[in-house]
């Protein structure tokens, strides 16, 4: 689904990613772990198309297309979704109005008809139930006055509504208590299929107890220094990141 080759990027002269290679196939869940400042969020932002970064080398191929040629909204239309680490507030715009606009703009981008109001409503009901959200969420201003947990749940709600091919969850577990974590993870699991893929970015092994990855990668100092199966996550949890740092010193 997505093939990243030798991706090198930075911000204002500062090198952050120093040659990332990563391939994710449909049906797979990958986790990227790593200490603070290793480049995890930079990677997810670049896949989503944030323009603040200087990309000096490498390619990102998404289903046969070079993502670098596409605007952030075009990437979204193709099925790239980013669950933000810090979702923004948009006062006066309700959750339902926002998601309706997002779905219909994406459909327009793909040359499809707008979704019928009735279908949209039914889907909103189903997905709020999936994430154990009260329906009153839908009429609240997007993220305004939301608690940390509500914001993250709202991200996964949007993911459920948009049904992306590739979902990147950037530290979706931060700020969640154990119940919210279970609900969010449960939501993600229900959305998994053989046709889509998930990239989980996290500091901690905790989330991976709920969303089981097929592959775990360790990002350190802008490079993937280790890859393995889910046992690697447990090893990291037990030993911490110091041994990775020592190995790559």
């Amino acid at each position: 689904m997505i093939k990243i080759k030798d991706l090198q990027a930075g911000i204002e002269e500062k090198e952050i990613l120093r040659g990332i290679d990563l391939e994710i196939n449909a049906g797979e869940v990958h986790a990227i772990m790593g200490p603070n400042g290793s480049g995890k969020s930079t990677l997810s932002n670049i896949i989503a198309g944030r323009e603040d970064y200087e990309i000096s080398a490498g390619t990102i191929d998404f289903e046969g297309e070079d993502l670098m040629d596409l605007s952030p909204e075009e990437r979204a239309h193709k099925g790239v979704f980013l669950s933000f680490q810090y979702p923004v507030e948009i006062p006066g715009v309700t959750v339902s109005n926002f998601i309706k606009t997002a779905i219909n703009e994406s459909r327009k981008g793909r040359g499809e008809e707008a979704m019928e109001a009735r279908e949209m409503l039914a889907m909103m009901r189903e997905k709020t139930a999936l994430l154990e959200m009260d329906k009153s969420y839908l009429s609240r201003s997007l993220n305004e006055g939301f608690s940390g947990g509500e914001k993250k749940r709202n991200e996964i709600f949007q993911m459920a509504m948009l049904q992306p091919k590739l979902a990147i969850l950037d530290e979706t577990d931060s700020g969640l208590d154990i119940d919210a974590l279970r609900i969010v993870a449960n939501g993600v699991n229900k959305l998994r299929s053989k046709d889509n893929a998930v990239l989980v970015i996290t500091h901690y092994q905790r989330l991976l107890d709920y969303i089981e990855p097929d592959f775990v990668h360790v990002l350190y100092n802008g490079k993937i220094v280790k890859s393995g199966d889910k046992s690697l996550a447990l090893e990291l949890e037990a030993k911490g990141y110091d041994w990775i740092k020592a190995e790559n010193a």
Partner: protein, 478 residues
Amino acid sequence: MSDEILGEITASEYKYGFTTEIESDTVPPGLNEDVIRLISSKKNEPEWMLEWRLDAYHTWSEMVEPDWPNVHYQKPDFQAISYYSAPKQKKNLDSLDEVDPELLKTFEKLGISLDEQKRLSGVAMDVVVDSVSVATTFKETLAEKGIIFCSMSDAIQEHPELVRKHLGTVVPKRDNFYAALNSAVFTDGSFCYIPKGVHCPMELSTYFRINEAGTGQFERTLLIADAGSFVSYLEGCTAPQRDENQLHAAVVELVAMEDAEIKYSTVQNWFPGDAEGKGGVFNFVTKRGICERNAKISWTQVETGSAVTWKYPSCILKGDHSIGEFYSVAVTNKFQQADTGTKMIHLGKNTKSTIISKGISAGKSHNSYRGLVRVGARAENARNFSQCDSLLMGDQCGAHTFPYIEAQHPSAQIEHEATTSKIGEDQIFYCNQRGIGTEEAIALIVNGYCKEVLNQLPMEFAVEAQKLLEISLEGSVG
């Protein structure tokens, strides 16, 4: 990134820029007693009206143009303006079919098909092109309820006692420079009277439009809601593109008698000038209402046009328990300047006022909120709440807030809240990531920001207002 987008959006052209070729009957430029006599006689006015105009003219002659607003512009040359312009084939029309087809086409371009309006929306309209009313609809329906809704010229002829009693009582001739000028030379406008206890069954609506190059437009509107009545009045404006600046100095007076309620909504989209700041309308307007006991006046405005705007729809809360409200969205883009706000004058006991002002500045524009809340010595338990928000787009525009508060009674409760924010790249990127392009994202964010005000507009207008916001911020808010 966003600067580029903002630049693009701000650069979109004025979509209503066209002129209609209709022969006009225009008085030569200049202002003196003779011109006023000419206007008055062309309109076949009674002697008292002419005297009133001449008195205003003499007052005006001794006044100087105010320079306290936070706007900069080339002062108009009042001797270069033509003070009267009417579409030439002026005769009484029985139906829309008799209206010049060119004119009807113009309305269609603006998306205001009279036919449509008449058939579908049930909005009665008094259409003003330049200075003379062309068509008045639904007059009969209104007449059954005793409601008078006509042009000011007709009102002077047919209801002189009402006009004479109320004209200039809310905005006196010598109130300010432009009000005095308007009093001297106003050519037309709307007049409305709602009898005691009558709830006006439909939204009353007037479209103003400047259609003659170099013609100043001086509308005079007088709206009287008798005791216990209710009326919702809509006023919308669009103007064709012009190179030279055009002056628009209107006066609107509202009288809300005991227990009456007036809701006055405006969508203003005069030509704002081109991308270099050339041309555009000067909009210097005096709007004021007076509330008797237990009455309520609510002003709602969406201001997107004009090169320079100078406007403060105000309420005099004279009667006990009366209520004043002001809801405003003011958008400035390119080189536009707006100095707008309200005055809430609390005179009666237990009077209440609410001010919600949303300013949006883009391009190289400047947007000022200026508001006065005054609580008089006898206004026991007066309460005011003001909220003034400013939204900036890009880094070359300005937002300013000038609140004035004067409380002369110890029981007054006055609250003022103000915020300034910028449409952030984070917000835009978030929308982009969800598949929403930058322009749509800006429209979405702006509509959300203005929601409290847009919600106050009647349905028909809310849609038009949203469309206008999108057009004026297209490539400007993103």
